[in-house]
Symmetry: C2
Subunit: 216 residues, 2 copies
């Protein structure tokens, strides 16, 4: 335990060197120029999380996305999310105000509401977020139904988040839900990965990059 294994493979061990080389490779390969300058570090982190520089072609954000998210977090706003994996993946020490991270997926009421409304538990859980959604940061990285549900609550006059990271994944409703977010008529700042791609790892990378300007 007190000695490392015998080196047999030739690989980079230094965390700093790995990050430096990774980000340099991403910057060399990904065409970031189409993105607003303050979104580029977010895109780099997201590419780092999935291993595909081509992701940049599907990434679209509202001009106020970065400032709105950072201002909300600096003011102590909570982060609402649709998946426990996202809550688990967000790096607490990057959050400026030890911000709450709220996921209601495991709330027993989510299951009951989902059954009675004939929808997914992920969508029903959004109805349990409550008034603190006002001015919050929302991070949806799993269920298209959760994103549609949130937009419908807002359309009904519900509380509006300060920013919505919408990166649900999949083959049914995912692309459509992200188009709906990008077309939201309330001018709510957003980040989306258009198409089918998405998921908790991408969503966590986005939030971690948005939470703090520092690259590492």
């Amino acid at each position: 335990m007190t000695t490392p294994p015998t080196p047999r493979y030739d690989y980079e061990h230094s965390p700093e060197a790995i990050y430096r080389q990774s980000f340099a490779t991403i910057r060399a390969e990904a065409d970031l120029l189409g993105l607003a300058e303050d979104v580029r570090p977010v895109a780099v982190r997201m590419i780092h999380a999935c291993g595909d520089p081509g992701l940049v072609d599907e990434l679209v954000s509202h001009p106020a996305l970065v400032t709105a998210t950072r201002d909300a977090l600096a003011a102590g706003a909570p982060i609402f999310t649709d998946a426990m994996m996202i809550a688990s993946g967000i790096t607490r020490r990057r959050l400026p105000k030890d911000n709450d991270i709220v996921c209601r997926l495991d709330d027993p009421r989510a299951r009951e509401l989902a059954r009675s409304w004939r929808t997914t538990r992920s969508a029903a859980a959004v109805s349990l977020w409550g008034p603190r959604v006002a001015g919050s940061v929302v991070a949806i990285g799993n269920a298209p139904t959760a994103l549609f549900h949130l937009l419908e609550l807002i359309a009904d006059g519900g509380h509006r988040p300060a920013a919505i990271i919408g990166i649900p994944v999949g083959f049914v409703g995912s692309a459509e839900s992200k188009r709906a977010l990008a077309d939201n008529p309330w001018d709510i700042p957003f980040l989306v990965v258009h198409g089918r791609r998405g998921g908790s790892a991408l969503c966590v990378a986005a939030i971690n990059a948005l939470a703090q300007e520092s690259e590492l």
Copy 2:
């Protein structure tokens, strides 16, 4: 709270219908025929988690992967992983024996060893897994250094897992670490996604599919 929002978007709400349509789309679009029959449901789940049927082109597994993993879990073997997000994402109710899921990344000794060995905390944490690695299921979905480190420990005569899911992501060492796993001289059953792609969401999808034959 007791009423759902007014429907405004046309989308599928039923969880069962969403799964059914998703898996049907994946089976229609992904070329699964190159994979062993028992690996196809695992591939479907992984494609479901990332939204890209093209993933199948990089997916390679050892012929005994599925049976070795299922036998180990059925015997109560723990799952060792390199990332808290993976530990968080594995669906406990799919595990046949309430199997332990172990991640040592947050162990203070991992930080100390990493510093003294000049490697990553992810790699050093692997040295803290201990003797229960023998016959276990390993799920590496983040750090190439963790996978290299594990293979070096095994080469030194360390305990051998029953199966290794090796899906680290990234631009530095990721592809190389997965080639090293696929070429492991000890005939340890493995699953890899060759190249740069990988990550915790893909790794969790693989484990969840391997843990139980049931598709949902």
